[in-house]
């Protein structure tokens, strides 16, 4: 089902990739979460397109929630994440983040090796 719902440009949003014949835009967090779920299927073309889209779109990304999910997903697909990690560490106002779910996924991303290992994802 996830493969079927992929956006034509690569990646996923929260619903269908195409509605009434119109292609919809993917979202970073949805794409990253789908890629984590599909980390064992790296050779499938829609997944490769999604990884490519995520890598391209994540350049210059400064939003902690999407950035953290992106780090986890790219690492699970054995892509370099050092630049994204450096960006996450250097974000201003991190102490102002009040949302616990954002803080949690940021912590998981900063320690991405152990996080993925705990979920059985080999990197």
């Amino acid at each position: 089902m996830l493969i079927d719902r992929a956006c034509p440009s690569g990646g996923w949003n929260a619903g269908n990739g195409v509605v009434y014949g119109a292609p919809l835009s993917p979202h970073l967090d949805d794409t990253a979460i789908a890629l984590l779920a599909l980390s064992g299927k790296k050779e499938v073309p829609p997944i490769q397109r999604a990884v490519q889209w995520l890598e391209n779109t994540a350049q210059g990304l400064r939003a902690p929630w999407s950035l953290a999910w992106t780090i986890l997903a790219l690492a699970a697909h054995r892509r370099p994440v050092e630049s994204q990690l450096a960006c996450l560490r250097s974000l201003p106002d991190l102490f102002a983040v009040e949302d616990t779910s954002t803080l949690a996924v940021m912590c998981l991303a900063l320690d991405y090796r152990d996080t993925l290992s705990a979920f059985g994802v080999a990197i």
Binding site: H27, W65, S66, D99
Partner: protein, 217 residues
Amino acid sequence: MSITRRHLLVGGAGLAAGAAVSIPSPLPKYHFDRRRKRSRVAILNVDQYSPKVEELLESALRLFSIDVAGKAVLLKPNLVDYLPGDAINTHPSLVLAAAECFRRLGAKSVLVAEGPGHQRDTQLVLSQSGYEDCLRSERIRFVDLNRAELVRTRLRASYTGMKQLWLSRTVLEADFLVSGSSAPQLATFALTQTNTVGPGFQTQSVGLFQLASQFWL
């Protein structure tokens, strides 16, 4: 004394009328229309984003004779998502201009709050749409309504069958709500006075004004 059918009819009608005014109605006592007889709407023409927008906004607000002195003002700009090349959000310069106007009118505080219904990552929408830098430079606080604290609020009427709703504490604590929406060539601001004194949450529309332009967005 004999009781005739006429006596019975008159007595019964009197009894019914008395009961109607003395027995509490099971219907909610909220069946009154709070709308003004005539809505207050202003449409102002503007040809581009410039410092003139701020002047225009201030003159628009003065048309409604609102009193925001000492009040907490919440601006909700209607952020949805960010799509490069598509104008789907209220332009940040408009929101900054509104914030400055309310400050000048004596507002105790002005904050911007939003809970996008399409993009879950509100911070992403803020950074990509240019809001993040603008709000930081003007020291305007932002609250993510999708993730902020909620308060169980009793409803005063039961039209929906629900007795309560979970509403944002940020919204409940505001004295004055400005809900914006933006479409190409038309930016709309709905002005609403809030009242949280007593049980429940009550709002009253103060007016609505639109900025129209053939060059807008």
